[in-house]
Protein backbone atom coordinates (compact mmCIF):
# COMPACT_ATOMS: atom_id res chain seq x y z
CA UNK A 1 0.00 0.00 0.00
CA UNK A 2 1.65 3.20 -1.16
CA UNK A 3 1.54 6.29 0.97
CA UNK A 4 -0.57 9.13 -0.35
CA UNK A 5 1.54 11.56 -2.36
CA UNK A 6 2.35 14.78 -0.65
CA UNK A 7 -0.25 17.45 -1.41
CA UNK A 8 1.38 20.33 0.40
CA UNK A 9 1.79 23.37 -1.79
CA UNK A 10 5.11 25.11 -1.89
CA UNK A 11 3.72 28.01 0.12
CA UNK A 12 1.78 27.44 3.29
CA UNK A 13 0.74 31.04 3.57
CA UNK A 14 -1.55 32.71 1.10
CA UNK A 15 -0.13 35.48 -1.01
CA UNK A 16 -0.17 38.86 0.67
CA UNK A 17 -2.79 40.43 -1.59
CA UNK A 18 -5.23 37.62 -0.97
CA UNK A 19 -4.76 37.91 2.77
CA UNK A 20 -5.20 41.67 2.72
CA UNK A 21 -8.27 41.71 0.49
CA UNK A 22 -10.90 41.22 3.20
CA UNK A 23 -9.33 44.06 5.15
CA UNK A 24 -9.66 46.63 2.36
CA UNK A 25 -12.76 48.12 3.97
CA UNK A 26 -10.66 49.16 6.95
CA UNK A 27 -8.90 51.60 4.64
CA UNK A 28 -12.19 53.39 4.11
CA UNK A 29 -11.98 54.94 7.56
CA UNK A 30 -8.74 56.86 7.08
CA UNK A 31 -9.95 57.65 3.57
CA UNK A 32 -13.08 59.28 4.94
CA UNK A 33 -11.08 61.15 7.58
CA UNK A 34 -8.83 62.45 4.85
CA UNK A 35 -11.83 63.49 2.76
CA UNK A 36 -13.17 65.35 5.75
CA UNK A 37 -9.88 67.12 6.19
CA UNK A 38 -10.00 68.24 2.58
CA UNK A 39 -13.61 69.44 2.68
CA UNK A 40 -13.81 71.08 6.06
CA UNK A 41 -12.38 74.58 6.02
CA UNK A 42 -10.95 74.82 9.50
CA UNK A 43 -8.48 72.32 10.80
CA UNK A 44 -9.69 72.78 14.35
CA UNK A 45 -13.28 72.08 13.32
CA UNK A 46 -12.18 69.03 11.45
CA UNK A 47 -10.37 67.74 14.51
CA UNK A 48 -13.35 68.30 16.77
CA UNK A 49 -15.69 66.68 14.28
CA UNK A 50 -13.40 63.72 13.77
CA UNK A 51 -13.28 63.05 17.50
CA UNK A 52 -17.06 63.41 17.77
CA UNK A 53 -17.48 61.18 14.78
CA UNK A 54 -15.24 58.51 16.21
CA UNK A 55 -16.96 58.75 19.58
CA UNK A 56 -20.41 58.45 18.03
CA UNK A 57 -19.12 55.61 15.89
CA UNK A 58 -17.87 53.76 18.94
CA UNK A 59 -21.23 54.03 20.63
CA UNK A 60 -23.06 52.82 17.57
CA UNK A 61 -20.56 49.99 17.29
CA UNK A 62 -21.22 48.82 20.84
CA UNK A 63 -24.91 48.57 20.00
CA UNK A 64 -24.47 47.17 16.51
CA UNK A 65 -22.03 44.46 17.57
CA UNK A 66 -24.71 42.78 19.64
CA UNK A 67 -27.24 43.04 16.86
CA UNK A 68 -24.99 41.62 14.18
CA UNK A 69 -23.99 38.67 16.32
CA UNK A 70 -27.59 37.96 17.23
CA UNK A 71 -28.62 38.06 13.64
CA UNK A 72 -25.57 36.19 12.49
CA UNK A 73 -25.81 33.43 15.01
CA UNK A 74 -29.48 33.06 15.57
CA UNK A 75 -30.88 34.43 12.35
CA UNK A 76 -33.11 36.60 14.49
CA UNK A 77 -34.06 40.13 13.58
CA UNK A 78 -34.83 42.04 16.68
CA UNK A 79 -36.54 45.30 15.92
CA UNK A 80 -36.92 45.77 19.63
CA UNK A 81 -33.19 46.29 20.06
CA UNK A 82 -33.84 50.01 20.26
CA UNK A 83 -35.82 49.52 23.45
CA UNK A 84 -32.79 48.02 25.13
CA UNK A 85 -30.83 51.14 24.27
CA UNK A 86 -33.45 53.37 25.82
CA UNK A 87 -33.88 51.16 28.87
CA UNK A 88 -30.16 51.02 29.42
CA UNK A 89 -29.97 54.78 29.19
CA UNK A 90 -32.79 55.32 31.66
CA UNK A 91 -31.48 52.82 34.17
CA UNK A 92 -27.96 54.16 33.88
CA UNK A 93 -29.11 57.72 34.29
CA UNK A 94 -31.26 56.79 37.28
CA UNK A 95 -28.23 55.21 38.93
CA UNK A 96 -26.10 58.26 38.19
CA UNK A 97 -28.72 60.57 39.61
CA UNK A 98 -28.88 58.46 42.74
CA UNK A 99 -25.12 58.60 43.07
CA UNK A 100 -24.96 62.32 42.42
CA UNK A 101 -22.63 62.78 45.35
CA UNK A 102 -20.12 60.58 43.60
CA UNK A 103 -20.57 62.18 40.20
CA UNK A 104 -20.44 65.64 41.63
CA UNK A 105 -17.13 65.05 43.33
CA UNK A 106 -14.00 66.22 41.53
CA UNK A 107 -12.28 62.91 42.07
CA UNK A 108 -11.82 60.77 38.98
CA UNK A 109 -11.94 57.64 41.10
CA UNK A 110 -15.34 58.43 42.54
CA UNK A 111 -16.68 59.44 39.16
CA UNK A 112 -15.49 56.19 37.68
CA UNK A 113 -17.10 54.31 40.50
CA UNK A 114 -20.42 55.94 39.76
CA UNK A 115 -20.06 55.28 36.04
CA UNK A 116 -19.19 51.66 36.61
CA UNK A 117 -22.20 51.29 38.86
CA UNK A 118 -24.41 52.90 36.24
CA UNK A 119 -23.04 50.71 33.48
CA UNK A 120 -23.38 47.53 35.50
CA UNK A 121 -26.91 48.46 36.50
CA UNK A 122 -27.87 49.22 32.92
CA UNK A 123 -26.30 46.05 31.56
CA UNK A 124 -27.89 43.87 34.21
CA UNK A 125 -31.34 45.26 33.56
CA UNK A 126 -31.11 45.14 29.78
CA UNK A 127 -29.49 41.72 29.92
CA UNK A 128 -32.40 40.51 32.00
CA UNK A 129 -34.83 42.22 29.67
CA UNK A 130 -33.10 40.50 26.79
CA UNK A 131 -33.48 37.15 28.45
CA UNK A 132 -37.19 37.74 28.99
CA UNK A 133 -37.56 39.04 25.45
CA UNK A 134 -35.90 35.95 24.03
CA UNK A 135 -38.04 33.55 26.02
CA UNK A 136 -41.37 35.22 25.61
CA UNK A 137 -41.28 37.06 22.36
CA UNK A 138 -38.56 35.67 20.16
CA UNK A 139 -38.39 31.97 20.91
CA UNK A 140 -41.84 31.11 19.56
CA UNK A 141 -41.01 32.61 16.21
CA UNK A 142 -37.61 31.18 15.38
CA UNK A 143 -37.09 30.80 11.68
CA UNK A 144 -39.99 33.03 10.67
CA UNK A 145 -38.50 36.35 9.73
CA UNK A 146 -41.75 38.08 9.01
CA UNK A 147 -43.23 37.19 12.36
CA UNK A 148 -40.00 38.15 14.07
CA UNK A 149 -40.13 41.59 12.55
CA UNK A 150 -43.74 42.05 13.58
CA UNK A 151 -43.42 40.62 17.04
CA UNK A 152 -40.24 42.43 17.95
CA UNK A 153 -41.75 45.67 16.71
CA UNK A 154 -44.62 44.98 19.06
CA UNK A 155 -42.14 44.33 21.83
CA UNK A 156 -40.46 47.62 21.01
CA UNK A 157 -43.72 49.50 21.37
CA UNK A 158 -44.58 47.84 24.65
CA UNK A 159 -41.09 48.37 26.10
CA UNK A 160 -41.06 52.01 25.08
CA UNK A 161 -44.45 52.59 26.65
CA UNK A 162 -43.23 50.93 29.84
CA UNK A 163 -40.49 53.53 30.00
CA UNK A 164 -43.19 56.17 29.97
CA UNK A 165 -45.03 54.36 32.70
CA UNK A 166 -41.99 53.96 34.94
CA UNK A 167 -40.15 57.20 34.35
CA UNK A 168 -42.84 59.51 33.08
CA UNK A 169 -43.26 61.23 29.73
CA UNK A 170 -40.61 63.92 29.96
CA UNK A 171 -37.03 63.87 28.93
CA UNK A 172 -34.45 63.67 31.67
CA UNK A 173 -31.30 65.70 31.65
CA UNK A 174 -28.07 64.29 32.93
CA UNK A 175 -24.81 66.06 33.54
CA UNK A 176 -21.58 64.29 32.95
CA UNK A 177 -19.53 63.45 36.02
CA UNK A 178 -17.18 66.24 37.07
CA UNK A 179 -13.98 64.69 35.83
CA UNK A 180 -15.48 64.18 32.38
CA UNK A 181 -16.80 67.64 31.94
CA UNK A 182 -15.12 70.13 29.75
CA UNK A 183 -12.65 69.82 26.97
CA UNK A 184 -8.95 69.69 26.31
CA UNK A 185 -7.39 71.89 23.70
CA UNK A 186 -5.24 70.33 21.08
CA UNK A 187 -4.01 71.88 17.87
CA UNK A 188 -6.43 74.74 18.31
CA UNK A 189 -9.45 72.52 18.70
CA UNK A 190 -11.56 71.94 21.79
CA UNK A 191 -11.94 68.22 22.24
CA UNK A 192 -14.53 67.17 24.78
CA UNK A 193 -13.01 64.92 27.41
CA UNK A 194 -16.00 62.63 27.45
CA UNK A 195 -15.81 62.02 23.75
CA UNK A 196 -12.13 61.12 23.94
CA UNK A 197 -12.94 58.71 26.75
CA UNK A 198 -15.77 57.26 24.67
CA UNK A 199 -13.40 56.58 21.80
CA UNK A 200 -10.98 54.78 24.07
CA UNK A 201 -13.74 52.86 25.78
CA UNK A 202 -15.33 51.80 22.52
CA UNK A 203 -12.00 50.56 21.27
CA UNK A 204 -11.59 48.57 24.47
CA UNK A 205 -15.02 47.00 24.00
CA UNK A 206 -14.15 46.09 20.42
CA UNK A 207 -10.91 44.45 21.48
CA UNK A 208 -12.65 42.65 24.31
CA UNK A 209 -15.33 41.24 22.01
CA UNK A 210 -12.70 40.22 19.51
CA UNK A 211 -10.71 38.52 22.22
CA UNK A 212 -13.71 36.59 23.45
CA UNK A 213 -14.59 35.51 19.94
CA UNK A 214 -11.10 34.50 18.98
CA UNK A 215 -9.54 33.15 22.12
CA UNK A 216 -12.25 31.46 24.09
CA UNK A 217 -14.11 28.27 23.43
CA UNK A 218 -17.44 30.05 23.68
CA UNK A 219 -16.28 32.52 21.07
CA UNK A 220 -15.27 29.63 18.88
CA UNK A 221 -18.70 28.08 19.24
CA UNK A 222 -20.34 31.39 18.35
CA UNK A 223 -18.19 31.87 15.26
CA UNK A 224 -18.76 28.30 14.14
CA UNK A 225 -22.46 28.57 14.94
CA UNK A 226 -22.77 31.64 12.75
CA UNK A 227 -21.56 29.53 9.86
CA UNK A 228 -23.22 26.20 10.47
CA UNK A 229 -25.35 25.83 13.58
CA UNK A 230 -26.37 22.30 12.76
CA UNK A 231 -22.79 21.04 12.64
CA UNK A 232 -22.00 22.71 15.95
CA UNK A 233 -24.84 20.79 17.54
CA UNK A 234 -23.64 17.59 15.88
CA UNK A 235 -20.34 18.17 17.65
CA UNK A 236 -22.11 18.03 20.98
CA UNK A 237 -22.74 21.67 21.90
CA UNK A 238 -26.08 22.89 23.16
CA UNK A 239 -26.44 25.73 20.73
CA UNK A 240 -29.68 26.82 22.35
CA UNK A 241 -27.82 27.90 25.47
CA UNK A 242 -25.28 29.77 23.41
CA UNK A 243 -28.14 31.49 21.57
CA UNK A 244 -29.66 32.74 24.77
CA UNK A 245 -26.25 33.82 26.00
CA UNK A 246 -25.58 35.81 22.86
CA UNK A 247 -29.00 37.40 22.95
CA UNK A 248 -28.51 38.44 26.55
CA UNK A 249 -24.99 39.71 25.82
CA UNK A 250 -26.22 41.61 22.78
CA UNK A 251 -28.97 43.21 24.80
CA UNK A 252 -26.57 44.12 27.58
CA UNK A 253 -24.28 45.72 25.00
CA UNK A 254 -27.23 47.73 23.74
CA UNK A 255 -27.79 48.91 27.30
CA UNK A 256 -24.14 49.88 27.56
CA UNK A 257 -24.46 51.79 24.31
CA UNK A 258 -27.50 53.51 25.73
CA UNK A 259 -25.59 54.75 28.77
CA UNK A 260 -22.76 55.98 26.59
CA UNK A 261 -25.26 57.73 24.34
CA UNK A 262 -27.04 59.26 27.31
CA UNK A 263 -23.85 60.90 28.49
CA UNK A 264 -22.96 61.95 24.95
CA UNK A 265 -26.28 63.78 24.49
CA UNK A 266 -26.63 64.71 28.15
CA UNK A 267 -30.32 64.05 27.74
CA UNK A 268 -32.52 60.98 27.41
CA UNK A 269 -35.94 60.37 25.95
CA UNK A 270 -37.90 57.15 25.50
CA UNK A 271 -37.52 57.61 21.76
CA UNK A 272 -33.77 57.82 21.71
CA UNK A 273 -33.32 54.14 21.01
CA UNK A 274 -35.33 54.39 17.81
CA UNK A 275 -33.40 57.36 16.57
CA UNK A 276 -30.14 55.50 16.80
CA UNK A 277 -31.57 52.23 15.50
CA UNK A 278 -31.72 53.56 11.96
CA UNK A 279 -27.99 54.19 12.07
CA UNK A 280 -27.44 50.83 13.77
CA UNK A 281 -29.33 49.07 10.99
CA UNK A 282 -27.22 50.83 8.42
CA UNK A 283 -24.06 49.78 10.23
CA UNK A 284 -25.16 46.15 10.49
CA UNK A 285 -26.02 46.08 6.81
CA UNK A 286 -22.85 47.69 5.53
CA UNK A 287 -20.64 45.79 7.95
CA UNK A 288 -21.93 42.45 6.84
CA UNK A 289 -24.10 40.19 8.93
CA UNK A 290 -22.31 38.34 11.67
CA UNK A 291 -19.14 40.38 11.43
CA UNK A 292 -17.97 42.32 14.46
CA UNK A 293 -15.04 43.76 12.54
CA UNK A 294 -17.37 44.85 9.77
CA UNK A 295 -19.66 46.50 12.28
CA UNK A 296 -16.68 48.30 13.79
CA UNK A 297 -15.55 49.76 10.49
CA UNK A 298 -19.10 50.50 9.43
CA UNK A 299 -19.87 52.26 12.69
CA UNK A 300 -16.82 54.48 12.44
CA UNK A 301 -17.74 55.38 8.88
CA UNK A 302 -21.30 56.21 9.83
CA UNK A 303 -20.27 58.22 12.88
CA UNK A 304 -17.73 60.23 10.93
CA UNK A 305 -20.04 60.81 7.99
CA UNK A 306 -22.87 61.88 10.24
CA UNK A 307 -20.72 64.46 11.96
CA UNK A 308 -19.02 65.75 8.84
CA UNK A 309 -22.26 66.26 6.93
CA UNK A 310 -24.01 67.70 9.95
CA UNK A 311 -21.37 70.44 9.82
CA UNK A 312 -21.17 70.88 6.08
CA UNK A 313 -24.82 70.47 5.12
CA UNK A 314 -27.00 69.63 8.13
CA UNK A 315 -30.05 68.72 6.09
CA UNK A 316 -28.22 65.94 4.37
CA UNK A 317 -26.96 64.14 7.45
CA UNK A 318 -29.22 61.09 7.47
CA UNK A 319 -29.51 61.05 3.70
CA UNK A 320 -25.72 60.93 3.42
CA UNK A 321 -25.65 57.77 5.48
CA UNK A 322 -28.29 56.23 3.25
CA UNK A 323 -26.06 57.17 0.36
CA UNK A 324 -23.13 55.48 2.07
CA UNK A 325 -25.22 52.35 2.52
CA UNK A 326 -26.28 52.30 -1.12
CA UNK A 327 -22.69 52.84 -2.27
CA UNK A 328 -21.32 50.04 -0.15
CA UNK A 329 -24.06 47.63 -1.14
CA UNK A 330 -23.34 48.36 -4.77
CA UNK A 331 -19.70 47.49 -4.15
CA UNK A 332 -20.31 44.50 -1.92
CA UNK A 333 -23.96 43.41 -1.81
CA UNK A 334 -23.42 41.30 1.27
CA UNK A 335 -21.78 44.06 3.23
CA UNK A 336 -18.09 44.75 3.70
CA UNK A 337 -17.02 41.70 5.64
CA UNK A 338 -19.91 39.29 5.78
CA UNK A 339 -19.55 36.09 7.68
CA UNK A 340 -22.79 34.63 6.49
CA UNK A 341 -23.46 34.42 2.84
CA UNK A 342 -26.74 34.46 0.98
CA UNK A 343 -29.50 32.28 2.32
Amino acid sequence: MTAAPDHTPTMTRLPLMVRLEPWLPALLVPALVLLGWLLIPYQSSWLTLTVSGLAMGMMIFVIASGMTLIFGLMDVINFGHGAFISFGAFVGVSVLLMLSSLTGAPSLMLNLLALIAAVIGAMLVTGGLGWAFERVIVRPVYGAHLKQILVTMGGLIVAEQMIYVIWGPHEIFIARPEAFKGAVTFAGAALEKYRLVAVGFGLAVFLAIRWVLRSTKVGLIVRAGVENGEMVQALGYRLRLVFVGVFVAGSALAGLGGVMWALYQEMITAHMGNEIMILVFIVVIIGGLGSVEGAFIGALLVGLLQNYTAFLEPKLALVSNIGLMVAILMWRPQGMMPVIKVK
Partner: protein, 246 residues
Protein backbone atom coordinates in the same frame (compact mmCIF):
# COMPACT_ATOMS: atom_id res chain seq x y z
CA UNK B 1 -34.68 -7.72 7.47
CA UNK B 2 -32.05 -7.85 10.22
CA UNK B 3 -29.67 -10.74 10.12
CA UNK B 4 -30.60 -13.22 12.86
CA UNK B 5 -26.97 -14.29 13.14
CA UNK B 6 -25.88 -10.69 13.86
CA UNK B 7 -23.00 -10.53 16.30
CA UNK B 8 -23.37 -8.08 19.18
CA UNK B 9 -25.60 -5.31 17.80
CA UNK B 10 -24.52 -1.83 18.85
CA UNK B 11 -26.92 0.29 16.86
CA UNK B 12 -30.38 -0.92 15.94
CA UNK B 13 -33.02 0.91 13.94
CA UNK B 14 -36.53 -0.46 14.17
CA UNK B 15 -39.23 0.72 11.81
CA UNK B 16 -37.79 4.19 11.51
CA UNK B 17 -39.88 6.54 9.40
CA UNK B 18 -38.68 10.03 8.68
CA UNK B 19 -40.41 12.83 6.80
CA UNK B 20 -38.82 15.96 5.44
CA UNK B 21 -41.45 18.69 5.07
CA UNK B 22 -44.32 16.83 3.47
CA UNK B 23 -42.18 14.19 1.81
CA UNK B 24 -41.92 10.70 3.28
CA UNK B 25 -38.32 9.64 2.91
CA UNK B 26 -37.83 6.68 5.20
CA UNK B 27 -40.63 4.16 5.07
CA UNK B 28 -39.66 1.94 7.96
CA UNK B 29 -35.96 1.26 8.21
CA UNK B 30 -34.81 -1.83 10.08
CA UNK B 31 -31.06 -1.85 10.40
CA UNK B 32 -28.57 -3.42 12.74
CA UNK B 33 -24.97 -2.30 13.06
CA UNK B 34 -22.74 -4.68 14.98
CA UNK B 35 -20.19 -3.46 17.48
CA UNK B 36 -16.62 -3.11 16.32
CA UNK B 37 -17.39 -3.66 12.65
CA UNK B 38 -17.72 -1.55 9.55
CA UNK B 39 -21.20 -1.61 8.05
CA UNK B 40 -21.63 -0.23 4.57
CA UNK B 41 -24.91 1.36 3.53
CA UNK B 42 -25.29 1.04 -0.21
CA UNK B 43 -27.98 2.06 -2.62
CA UNK B 44 -28.90 4.37 -5.45
CA UNK B 45 -29.09 8.11 -5.13
CA UNK B 46 -32.25 9.18 -3.38
CA UNK B 47 -32.67 5.87 -1.59
CA UNK B 48 -32.55 7.59 1.78
CA UNK B 49 -29.05 6.74 2.94
CA UNK B 50 -28.08 10.24 3.99
CA UNK B 51 -31.46 10.70 5.62
CA UNK B 52 -30.83 7.56 7.64
CA UNK B 53 -27.53 8.86 8.93
CA UNK B 54 -28.99 12.25 9.72
CA UNK B 55 -31.90 10.64 11.54
CA UNK B 56 -29.52 8.62 13.68
CA UNK B 57 -27.60 11.80 14.48
CA UNK B 58 -30.81 13.52 15.50
CA UNK B 59 -30.66 16.13 12.77
CA UNK B 60 -34.00 14.88 11.49
CA UNK B 61 -36.60 13.63 13.94
CA UNK B 62 -38.16 10.29 13.01
CA UNK B 63 -41.90 10.24 12.83
CA UNK B 64 -42.00 6.66 14.07
CA UNK B 65 -39.65 3.94 15.17
CA UNK B 66 -36.87 3.34 17.63
CA UNK B 67 -33.16 3.91 17.42
CA UNK B 68 -31.28 1.90 20.01
CA UNK B 69 -27.73 2.88 20.76
CA UNK B 70 -26.19 0.24 22.95
CA UNK B 71 -29.64 -0.50 24.28
CA UNK B 72 -30.84 3.06 24.91
CA UNK B 73 -33.45 4.65 22.62
CA UNK B 74 -32.04 7.85 21.18
CA UNK B 75 -34.83 8.57 18.70
CA UNK B 76 -36.04 12.12 19.17
CA UNK B 77 -33.07 13.29 21.22
CA UNK B 78 -31.32 16.51 20.29
CA UNK B 79 -28.19 16.16 18.16
CA UNK B 80 -26.04 17.56 20.93
CA UNK B 81 -27.29 14.90 23.33
CA UNK B 82 -26.62 12.16 20.80
CA UNK B 83 -23.17 13.53 20.11
CA UNK B 84 -22.41 13.44 23.78
CA UNK B 85 -23.22 9.75 23.79
CA UNK B 86 -20.23 9.31 21.55
CA UNK B 87 -21.74 9.50 18.09
CA UNK B 88 -19.84 11.46 15.45
CA UNK B 89 -20.91 12.25 11.92
CA UNK B 90 -18.84 13.13 8.88
CA UNK B 91 -21.60 14.66 6.76
CA UNK B 92 -21.92 14.63 3.00
CA UNK B 93 -21.07 18.32 2.75
CA UNK B 94 -18.27 17.85 5.27
CA UNK B 95 -19.58 20.57 7.60
CA UNK B 96 -16.26 22.37 7.76
CA UNK B 97 -16.22 25.80 9.37
CA UNK B 98 -14.56 27.77 6.62
CA UNK B 99 -13.85 30.88 8.66
CA UNK B 100 -12.17 28.94 11.44
CA UNK B 101 -8.63 27.63 11.15
CA UNK B 102 -7.90 23.93 10.85
CA UNK B 103 -6.74 24.05 14.44
CA UNK B 104 -9.97 25.71 15.59
CA UNK B 105 -12.05 23.16 13.71
CA UNK B 106 -10.21 20.42 15.55
CA UNK B 107 -10.49 22.16 18.92
CA UNK B 108 -14.24 22.36 18.52
CA UNK B 109 -14.41 18.70 17.66
CA UNK B 110 -12.53 17.71 20.80
CA UNK B 111 -15.53 18.72 22.82
CA UNK B 112 -14.70 16.94 26.01
CA UNK B 113 -11.45 18.75 26.67
CA UNK B 114 -7.93 19.42 25.47
CA UNK B 115 -6.35 17.30 22.78
CA UNK B 116 -5.04 13.85 23.39
CA UNK B 117 -1.59 14.77 22.10
CA UNK B 118 -0.68 11.27 21.01
CA UNK B 119 -3.88 10.76 19.14
CA UNK B 120 -3.56 14.16 17.49
CA UNK B 121 -0.02 13.40 16.36
CA UNK B 122 -1.18 10.13 14.90
CA UNK B 123 -4.00 11.88 13.03
CA UNK B 124 -1.70 14.54 11.65
CA UNK B 125 0.57 11.78 10.53
CA UNK B 126 -2.25 10.10 8.67
CA UNK B 127 -3.36 13.43 7.15
CA UNK B 128 -0.17 15.45 6.67
CA UNK B 129 -1.83 18.44 4.93
CA UNK B 130 -3.64 19.22 8.16
CA UNK B 131 -0.37 19.81 9.93
CA UNK B 132 0.82 22.02 7.09
CA UNK B 133 -2.34 24.12 7.09
CA UNK B 134 -2.85 24.02 10.85
CA UNK B 135 -3.20 27.80 11.30
CA UNK B 136 -4.94 28.53 8.05
CA UNK B 137 -8.65 29.16 7.56
CA UNK B 138 -10.25 25.87 6.64
CA UNK B 139 -12.04 27.51 3.73
CA UNK B 140 -8.76 27.72 1.85
CA UNK B 141 -8.23 24.00 1.77
CA UNK B 142 -8.86 21.95 -1.33
CA UNK B 143 -11.80 19.56 -1.50
CA UNK B 144 -9.72 16.57 -0.62
CA UNK B 145 -8.06 18.35 2.28
CA UNK B 146 -11.44 19.43 3.60
CA UNK B 147 -12.58 15.84 3.57
CA UNK B 148 -9.46 14.90 5.48
CA UNK B 149 -10.27 17.58 8.02
CA UNK B 150 -13.87 16.42 8.32
CA UNK B 151 -12.75 12.87 8.90
CA UNK B 152 -9.98 13.89 11.29
CA UNK B 153 -12.49 15.92 13.27
CA UNK B 154 -14.60 12.85 13.81
CA UNK B 155 -11.52 10.90 14.81
CA UNK B 156 -9.95 13.41 17.18
CA UNK B 157 -11.53 11.60 20.07
CA UNK B 158 -12.53 8.02 20.40
CA UNK B 159 -16.18 7.69 19.48
CA UNK B 160 -18.71 5.00 20.17
CA UNK B 161 -20.14 5.22 16.66
CA UNK B 162 -18.89 6.85 13.47
CA UNK B 163 -21.43 7.88 10.84
CA UNK B 164 -19.59 8.60 7.62
CA UNK B 165 -21.39 9.87 4.53
CA UNK B 166 -19.72 9.32 1.16
CA UNK B 167 -16.21 10.34 2.18
CA UNK B 168 -14.74 9.58 -1.21
CA UNK B 169 -17.21 11.61 -3.23
CA UNK B 170 -15.50 13.69 -5.88
CA UNK B 171 -12.00 13.01 -4.61
CA UNK B 172 -8.89 11.92 -6.46
CA UNK B 173 -7.89 8.27 -6.00
CA UNK B 174 -4.75 9.22 -4.15
CA UNK B 175 -6.73 11.04 -1.50
CA UNK B 176 -9.24 8.25 -1.34
CA UNK B 177 -6.45 5.89 -0.51
CA UNK B 178 -5.29 8.19 2.32
CA UNK B 179 -8.81 8.13 3.69
CA UNK B 180 -9.00 4.38 3.31
CA UNK B 181 -5.85 4.04 5.32
CA UNK B 182 -7.24 6.20 8.11
CA UNK B 183 -10.48 4.26 8.19
CA UNK B 184 -8.59 1.01 8.23
CA UNK B 185 -6.65 2.16 11.26
CA UNK B 186 -9.92 3.14 12.94
CA UNK B 187 -11.31 -0.26 12.18
CA UNK B 188 -8.22 -1.94 13.52
CA UNK B 189 -8.75 -0.07 16.77
CA UNK B 190 -12.18 -1.67 17.06
CA UNK B 191 -14.41 1.24 16.07
CA UNK B 192 -18.05 0.81 15.08
CA UNK B 193 -18.66 2.47 11.75
CA UNK B 194 -21.75 2.95 9.59
CA UNK B 195 -20.70 4.29 6.25
CA UNK B 196 -22.55 5.36 3.12
CA UNK B 197 -20.38 4.82 0.12
CA UNK B 198 -20.94 4.78 -3.63
CA UNK B 199 -17.39 3.74 -4.38
CA UNK B 200 -17.82 -0.01 -4.53
CA UNK B 201 -14.13 -0.82 -4.41
CA UNK B 202 -13.74 1.12 -1.19
CA UNK B 203 -16.94 -0.36 0.20
CA UNK B 204 -15.83 -3.85 -0.52
CA UNK B 205 -12.33 -3.29 0.80
CA UNK B 206 -13.45 -1.83 4.12
CA UNK B 207 -16.86 -3.26 4.80
CA UNK B 208 -17.52 -6.21 7.07
CA UNK B 209 -21.25 -6.08 6.69
CA UNK B 210 -23.48 -4.40 4.20
CA UNK B 211 -27.06 -3.16 4.04
CA UNK B 212 -28.63 -2.19 0.75
CA UNK B 213 -31.23 0.51 0.72
CA UNK B 214 -33.88 1.41 -1.78
CA UNK B 215 -36.85 3.75 -1.62
CA UNK B 216 -36.53 4.36 2.10
CA UNK B 217 -36.24 0.74 3.14
CA UNK B 218 -33.48 -1.81 3.67
CA UNK B 219 -33.81 -4.37 0.93
CA UNK B 220 -30.97 -6.66 1.93
CA UNK B 221 -28.52 -6.98 4.82
CA UNK B 222 -25.74 -9.44 5.40
CA UNK B 223 -22.02 -10.04 5.29
CA UNK B 224 -20.01 -8.11 2.71
CA UNK B 225 -18.32 -11.29 1.62
CA UNK B 226 -21.69 -12.78 0.75
CA UNK B 227 -22.75 -9.84 -1.43
CA UNK B 228 -19.35 -9.49 -3.06
CA UNK B 229 -19.37 -13.12 -4.13
CA UNK B 230 -22.75 -12.93 -5.82
CA UNK B 231 -22.85 -10.70 -8.91
CA UNK B 232 -26.40 -11.70 -9.69
CA UNK B 233 -27.52 -10.53 -6.28
CA UNK B 234 -25.66 -7.25 -6.75
CA UNK B 235 -27.34 -6.78 -10.11
CA UNK B 236 -30.75 -7.41 -8.60
CA UNK B 237 -30.31 -5.12 -5.62
CA UNK B 238 -28.43 -2.23 -7.07
CA UNK B 239 -28.84 -2.51 -10.80
CA UNK B 240 -25.19 -3.19 -11.46
CA UNK B 241 -22.44 -5.40 -10.24
CA UNK B 242 -19.65 -4.22 -8.01
CA UNK B 243 -17.06 -5.72 -10.32
CA UNK B 244 -17.89 -3.63 -13.33
CA UNK B 245 -18.74 -0.44 -11.54
CA UNK B 246 -15.92 1.84 -10.59
Amino acid sequence: MPDPLMPDPFLTLEGVKTDIAQYHILHGVDLTVPRGQVTMLLGRNGAGKTTTLRTIMGLWKPREGRILLDGADIAGLAPAAIARKGVAIVPEDMGIFANLTVEENMILAAASGPFDRERLDWLLGVFPPLRTFWKMPAGNLSGGQKQMLATARAMVEERALYLIDEPSKGLAPAIVSTLARALRELKAAGATILMVEQNFALARALGDRVAVMDDGRITWAGAMAELAADPALQERLMGLSMETAR
